[in-house]
């Protein structure tokens, strides 16, 4: 790696670090005059502190809006390449893309094509999802022939039976409610707490400019 490349990496890491720290401090300390109660100009200072975060959040929103162009360009590029190789579905995709653009432009912003095609297809896929999930649930023991697979299937059966509107299944419903309120809720919170901790550690790594993206 040449000297100029190393300098470039160090510079981009520094920019990331500076912007990250300033934005984090601005988010944590800005807009809260009560944090500087003893200071005379607390409201003005708190407003100034919140300014960098507000600017960065707006910049992110604008950049995110622009990235949709990147996404569409990528979609067209990938499918154009497949059209050359004679992929039928890619031809359909590009034709649909052109038709939708033409429809929207010629009908002055009419989105009925989206409502007539996209929504029913997504609904049909959602219905198909139910079948896939049932099939997946039935295959759990084949994939995980251990105590955790057996426990998963047992809980699944109890919760499904408990959700049936049959009077004679009231004891099962009580078990189902208990499962959902205590162990399932505790497990879900444990997973979410773990994800939150992981998010903080990864966030700090990015904040310190240590992420691979800044390392050239």
């Amino acid at each position: 790696m040449s000297r100029s490349q190393r300098l470039g990496i160090a510079f981009s890491a520094f920019i990331a670090f500076a912007v990250g720290v300033i934005t984090t401090l601005s988010l944590l300390l800005g807009g809260r005059p009560e944090l500087y109660a003893d200071f005379a100009g607390a409201p003005v200072f708190a407003r100034l502190m919140s300014l960098p975060a507000a600017i960065m959040v707006r910049l992110v929103a604008i950049t995110a809006a622009v990235t949709i162009v990147i996404g569409i360009s990528n979609l067209l590029y990938v499918h154009m390449g497949r059209v050359v190789r004679g992929a039928f579905f890619s031809i359909v995709m590009i034709a649909s893309f052109a038709l939708t653009i033409w429809w929207y432009w010629s009908k002055q912003g009419d989105t009925s094509l989206l409502a007539a095609v996209q929504v029913p297809i997504e609904s049909a896929l959602a219905a198909l999802l139910f079948l896939s999930m049932v099939q997946g649930g039935a295959r759990v023991l084949a994939k995980r022939a251990d105590i955790w697979g057996a426990l998963f299937v047992t809980v699944l059966v109890v919760v499904l039976l408990g959700s049936l509107p049959i009077e004679s299944l009231a004891p099962v419903r009580a078990w189902s409610d208990w499962l959902m309120e205590i162990p399932v809720s505790a497990g879900a919170r444990a997973i979410l707490l773990g994800i939150a901790l992981g998010t903080v550690v990864t966030g700090v790594r990015v904040l310190l400019g240590q992420d691979r993206s800044y390392r050239g």
């Binding site: 944590l28 996404g71 979609l75 997504e122 979410l192 773990g194 550690v201 790594r205 990015v206 691979r212």
Partner: protein
């Protein structure tokens, strides 16, 4: 607890995490050791899939799902980019470049960047693929399953943000005899991954997965900071539970609480040793 106090605690938490990250990197850099892949959860079949991809000239498919660098789950996207980098590096001697998919348009540059860094061969530009997510990500799942037929990947590494649509993707992979590894930051996706994927990681393993594959001590250091916080959190919760139980049973039960605390500590040590 009022907002200002909470804010101070958050600042302290972030600062302590920064100190821990630097400290762990300093100490672990001296004794960098790669974790044995044989012990890594969820990676038992990965080397088989990589070998199959290389021998059969088929790509690997890696997916971020809806994790986006412009969303609240940006950290998930950053962590998975690191994991994908190591997986692609491991598959580096193959003929066909891996495919990385996403339903977040902002993540497309991250996909391209990951391939550019990890893959030395040609044909890299069209390997990052964006599928519009739609309201319920069903369009993403439909696009992905269609791509499976065209690209014929040897296996799917689905690590990121997935909801119930993961069932469609895993079902399609299973029917086509393609291997699958899945982990999600959404609870619905995580449950489906557990039930339907060949290999699965759970919860915070999403963020430490790269440490299992990496030769770099920094990845291991970051994972160990996560372990420290998790251990402290578990200890804190156990102490609060024991104090609560002691308060309800009366002062005579303190000896029972001490025995329970020792038992909990013993279980914790056994779990840590086994890992």
């Amino acid at each position: 607890m009022d907002d200002s106090t909470l804010q101070v605690y958050v600042i302290l938490f972030v600062m302590i995490t920064v100190v821990l990250v630097y400290s762990a990197r300093y100490f672990l850099a001296r004794r960098a050791r790669r974790l044995s892949q044989g012990r890594a959860p969820g990676f038992r079949r990965l080397s088989g899939w990589l070998g199959e991809a290389i021998e059969a000239g088929r790509p690997l498919h890696l997916s971020f799902g809806s994790a986006g660098i412009d969303r609240e789950n940006a950290a998930v996207a950053a962590a998975e980019a690191e994991l994908f980098y190591h997986i692609i590096k491991a598959a580096g001697s193959g003929d066909v470049a891996p495919v990385i998919s996403t339903s977040s348009s902002a993540t497309v540059p991250l996909c391209q960047d990951t391939i550019r860094r990890a893959w030395d061969g040609e044909d890299r530009r069209a390997r990052a693929q964006w599928f519009p997510g739609g309201a319920r990500s069903m369009a993403f799942a439909a696009g992905l399953t269609a791509t499976m037929g065209v690209e014929e990947p040897s296996a799917h590494i689905l690590a990121g943000s997935f909801g119930p649509e993961l069932a469609l993707i895993l079902d399609s992979a299973d029917r086509q005899g393609q291997g699958s590894f899945a982990v999600s930051d959404q609870l619905e996706g995580q449950a489906i991954a557990f039930a339907m994927a060949d290999e699965v990681l759970i919860g915070e393993q999403l963020f430490s997965a790269a440490a299992w594959l990496s030769h770099e001590s920094t990845a291991r250091a970051d994972a160990s900071v996560q372990d420290i916080w998790r251990g402290l959190l578990i200890a804190l919760m156990a102490v609060l539970v024991l104090i609560n139980v002691a308060g309800q049973l009366g002062i005579a039960s303190w000896s029972l609480v001490v025995v329970a605390a020792l038992a909990l500590a013993f279980i914790g040590v056994v779990i840590v040793r086994r890992r």
